[in-house]
């Protein structure tokens, strides 16, 4: 009995030492970055945009090591994963989903020497900043594109969760569509979650059954909706990552994608230099975080011109949420002379005239 337990103890100690020694034996990287994703990085969408950006950071700054964890739920689990990464030496963590905010903030409190940049939240601390791309105004030129390309004047929009920002995206979309096509109507369907592929397929089919010939979306991955539209001969406008255009060679019009790489590179450099400053950075079209995707092959030249012109207007500061704006029940929500700026983009509780749907 004594001999056996001694042997077991010895083996455990050995394993312990091996595990500790292993990281020391390797080359020390300049910076270890940890990223947690709520889904899979191969989603042609939200998660991919962060993944692609971090790969670019690795190219921009040699010596950066990247730790990634996919399918990290927005719950207490996330804390454990981030702690695990910190134990592996991560000094800069990117929690990429909204629901990772509180877990990340808790971890940040325990590790003042590790820096955090959270996507889409508002919390701040000495080692905790946040950022996101302002997408609402950017959806205006998307609406213009849809308004010009539609033949049935019916546009469909699939939303995952009806948060204010998503509603704002729909509103800008419809405003843009109406600006070139007064008969355009946008129908909204909510799937109830950011990533339920079967529901997204069913939602897309339901909209197409209603006669919509252009589909847009605000869900984590545009892939299912884009492919469903393509299979039924309809057109699509993508979101989250411009790579989704590969999925719809015929029906792709254009889309919006996030370009996080410049901001991420800046932050990583500041961590390496020891000059990290927490901030709440929200940049839109033309400011470096949001970009317009390349046009699909079947988009005619005149439409491209109009859309590009509209996108330029937005990039130069045009605010589509300038009154008077009436909602789809007839109530004036933004009065003449007023306009809603970036700080109010999460406050949308109503859809503009021309949208079929109700904010729950």
């Amino acid at each position: 009995m004594e001999k056996r337990s001694g042997l077991v103890m010895g083996l455990l100690v050995l394993a312990f030492c091996v595990a500790l020694a292993a990281p020391l034996a390797a080359d020390a990287p300049k910076l270890i970055i940890g990223a947690i994703y709520v889904g899979s990085v191969n989603d042609y969408g939200y998660n991919r945009s962060f993944h692609d950006a971090l790969l670019t950071v690795q190219k921009n700054i040699p010596g950066v090591k990247l730790l990634e964890a996919e399918n990290v739920p927005e719950s207490a689990e996330a804390e454990r994963v981030m702690e695990g990464m910190i134990q592996q030496g991560a000094k800069l963590i990117f929690p990429t989903s909204f629901g990772h905010q509180e877990p990340a903030f808790n971890v940040a409190k325990r590790h003042p020497d590790v820096y955090f940049e959270h996507a889409g939240g508002w919390m701040m601390a000495a080692n905790f900043g946040n950022y996101f791309g302002n997408t609402q105004a950017a959806w205006y030129p998307m609406g213009v594109a849809a308004g010009k390309m539609t033949k049935t004047n019916k546009l469909g929009f699939v939303i995952g969760v009806p948060i204010g920002f998503a509603v704002g995206n729909v509103n800008a979309f419809e405003l843009g569509a109406r600006s070139v096509n007064p008969a355009a109507v946008t129908t909204v369907v909510v799937t109830g979650g950011w990533s339920d592929k079967a529901k997204e397929a069913a939602a897309a089919n339901a909209l197409l059954d209603q006669g919509c010939d252009v589909l847009a979306m605000h869900v984590d991955s545009p892939a299912t909706i884009v492919r469903t539209a393509e299979a039924r001969g309809a057109m699509s406008i993508g979101f989250q990552s411009i790579e989704a255009r590969a999925l719809a060679p015929k029906g792709w019009i254009t889309g919006l994608g996030f370009t996080w790489a410049p901001y991420f590179t800046e932050v990583a450099k500041s961590v390496i230099a020891g000059t990290f400053k927490p901030s709440s950075t929200h940049l839109g079209l033309g400011e470096g975080m949001v970009t317009v995707a390349p046009f699909g092959a079947n988009v005619p030249a005149d439409v491209r011109q109009v859309v590009t012109a509209s996108a330029d207007k937005i990039a130069k500061g045009f605010n589509p949420f300038t009154g008077p704006i009436v909602d789809n029940t007839g109530v004036t929500q933004i009065k003449a002379g007023e306009s809603w700026g970036g700080d109010k983009m999460g406050d949308f509780k109503w859809y503009v005239e021309g949208v079929v749907g109700k904010v729950q």
Binding site: A15, A69, F98, G99, I163
Partner: protein, 349 residues
């Protein structure tokens, strides 16, 4: 008794036997899972070493182990109690959610009460939520209308939808309207936590529940009576024992304990009600209770083992690049080994 292996005169005490049995199971499972890891191109030794270092030999890791232990201990007891009557409660998930829901209702309605009043109220509501949710299948079963296995299973899926309805609707937090969750609980409604970790008083509640379960079942008349009824319901009925009442009460108490797990999650960990509270704690509890044969010590050991295994998933994801879900294979293997090792023996449960 068939199945017992005794050599004349030499029998290990039951605790040592249990430990040896669970130890052997663990070793078999580790070997098989190691083979799967190898097949997937990973290094099993490093994987196990990492798990040891990060989950056990590490203060944070160990504290998280205890955090994981809390809800599954409770849901295991939630299954064990009705099981004494021969009832099958697979509704731990739903009962957990309803406990969380009712606890939230209390916390949101009475935020200004002082902690020494609010916490017991919230705890009681958590218990009640789960108890009521389990009482429904209890009544259905007592009236011989619906089998409780089916009823508890179906209600599992209704409860999270009720929670979602409230989070997206009447209880939608105005401060973070961008995200569906309830407003944050006041500090008075939060279970206290210890040692600057996430271990919260729910762990104490869990241990208390386990101890109470042991005491009631082994040391009181009720426990013996429950076992007798569970052995032969018809005979008990004929003897005048109100079996129907026992059924409802047993399921309600079981459900209440699962409800406490839900309350622990919202009050101790999250501080608010949100979706996705339970990654299958109810089912895990069922399996723990079943493997342990309803025995309290076994429940504690198996729950601990499950907690270690699920902790391994986090580490393996980061260091080995395996999807976290793969840990479910390890859990399943553990279960397969236990399930396969029991041919006709039906002594336990």
């Amino acid at each position: 008794m068939p199945g017992d292996r005794t050599t004349a005169g030499r029998r290990l005490p039951p605790a040592a036997r249990a430990a040896a049995r669970y130890g052997l199971i663990t070793v078999i499972v580790l070997v098989v899972f190691g083979a799967i890891l190898l097949a997937a191109g990973k290094n099993p030794l490093k994987a196990y070493a990492d798990t040891f270092v990060y989950a056990l030999a590490n203060a944070y890791g160990f504290s998280e182990l205890l955090v994981r232990l809390t809800p599954i201990l409770l849901t295991a007891v939630a299954v064990a109690i009705p099981a004494r009557l021969g009832l099958i409660n697979v509704g731990g998930e739903g009962q957990l959610y309803m406990g969380a829901w009712l606890a939230t209702a209390g916390a949101l309605a009475l935020p200004h009460l002082p902690a020494w009043v609010l916490l017991p109220v919230v705890t009681l509501l958590g218990f009640s939520g789960g108890a009521l949710w389990a009482a429904i299948p209890g009544i259905l079963r007592a009236r011989k209308l619906v089998n409780e296995t089916i009823a508890t299973l179906l209600l599992n899926y209704v409860a999270p939808l009720i929670v979602s309805f409230f989070i997206f609707g009447p209880w939608r937090s105005p401060e973070s309207s961008a995200y569906p969750q309830s407003p944050a609980f006041s500090d008075a409604a939060r279970l206290p936590s210890f040692f600057n970790t996430r271990i919260h008083a729910g762990l104490l509640i869990a241990f208390a529940a386990l101890a109470l379960y042991w005491f009631l079942m082994e040391k009181t008349r009720w426990g013996l009576q429950m076992r007798a009824i569970g052995g032969n319901q018809e005979a008990s009925q004929r003897l005048g024992i109100p079996v129907a009442t026992w059924i409802v009460v047993a399921l309600a108490i079981g459900g209440g304990i699962a409800g406490l797990a839900g309350m622990g999650e919202v009050s101790g960990i999250h501080g608010r009600l949100r979706q996705g509270l339970s990654p299958g704690y109810g089912f895990t509890g069922f399996l723990i209770s079943w493997i342990a044969g309803g025995r309290p010590l076994g429940i504690l050991l198996m729950a601990f083992l499950f907690a270690v295994i699920t902790s391994a998933g986090d580490i393996l994801q980061i260091t080995q690049g395996l999807p976290y879900s793969v840990i479910n294979i390890l859990l399943a293997l553990l279960l397969f080994v236990v399930l396969a090792r029991r041919p006709a023996q039906r002594g336990a449960r």
